[in-house]
Symmetry: C2
Subunit: 231 residues, 2 copies
Amino acid sequence: MMEYYQNQDKLLVAVDSIIFGFDEGQHELKLLILKRRFEPAKGGWSLMGGFVNKNESVDDAAKRIVFQLTGLQDVYMEQLFTFGDVTRDPGGRIVSVAYYSLIKINDYDRELVKEHGASWIPVSELPDLIFDHSVMVEKAIRKLRIRARTQPIGFELLPEKFTIPQLQGLYEAIYQVPFDKRNFRRKILSMGLLEKLDEKEKESSRKGAFYYRFNKRKYKELLKRGFNFEL
Amino acid sequence: MMEYYQNQDKLLVAVDSIIFGFDEGQHELKLLILKRRFEPAKGGWSLMGGFVNKNESVDDAAKRIVFQLTGLQDVYMEQLFTFGDVTRDPGGRIVSVAYYSLIKINDYDRELVKEHGASWIPVSELPDLIFDHSVMVEKAIRKLRIRARTQPIGFELLPEKFTIPQLQGLYEAIYQVPFDKRNFRRKILSMGLLEKLDEKEKESSRKGAFYYRFNKRKYKELLKRGFNFEL
DNA sequence: CCAAAAGTGTTCATCGTACACCCATGT
DNA sequence: ACATGGGTGTACGATGAACACTTTTGG
């Protein structure tokens, strides 16, 4: 590639990843954070991060970081914000592009997570994080809430087949408030985006709850016609 | 500053600025763009941009860019998105953080704008822009619309005193749809954020329209009590 | 037969939307 | 007196919120 733009400062560009997971059993939204193994701030709780390489897009770097920690590819991931204060990292001048991603909490590679010294922590019990990472997390939660109301991204945190009560539990975990189950069911079904299956989930109740499946095709169709999802 | 993090790639980091202005007379939202004076893509229509210096925050760089072109400080400005594809700029590997800002279209420094070869173009008549700048602009318009409905940022594009019809014209320019004036007036006044003044604006009609002023103090108070603005 | 979660309808208040006429004034 | 934009009220339908009982079935 030709190089124009001489004599300009070059900076370290990093990616930090806010990885949300949902724990069906415990009705909680969790975050994957790790103990830092190097200076500065060695031993502090931190988000998973890494530097963007010269021949790699920032998006790809973010995917790589999540893959390194969880072994997962094709995860829902969205750019959050870029943090560019001069002194945000005492180890050097680093511009950090933060991403958040959603993973099904039972899918990840436990070995990789253990190797990196990472743990799942409920978002309501997070310790202080290094540098500006706590700010990143707060911002991510706010954005996640808006997105979950506005687009059906919450579904990414559940298995392909899920029950209405599970879905409701997920939304309650994201918003930290209880919903009325009649209203919730009516609203979500009235959009016509869920297919009822014949099968029942029988773990969590005697009666059993019917499984549903999200109809992605139909969702895309409706989008084209100006539909907008709103919980 | 100690330098940890050796042997990592450093990249050029740029800021690109999407500068919106509102033309009261013409009921149009305009964008400030310029003809590029250097390679690559010399002569193409471009956003105002520049590189982030080592000892300058990314936010400060964005403010600097807007100041260089318009002579304005303390402008409403918000980070839009970071564009990080490897080949987005054929002149080199550049990560660009895009910002958008709103200015009162009669405030800017005409000399500076002329020096830079910049022009105000209605958003509905934009030419093709270089690189990924058109994508940036589309994204900015989408975000501006959401923000304007959700936060009273539109007010930044009007003088301190404005009339209800002016405000409505602004929103119509942002959304490119007409609103019912009775409903608009009712809704905006029902929030209790506008103070009616005794003075009338007499340019645009025989009868004259009362001036109003946005009450920032009251807005912040309401925000604390969980109020949320929604047009 | 009982505990535990799934599932189901109705009422009411609120809000958004559609809609048409009078007012004030400068020329 | 008339043209121009400013200003006002009401009726109707849609939507969101509150609320309690029946069903199923494993133990």
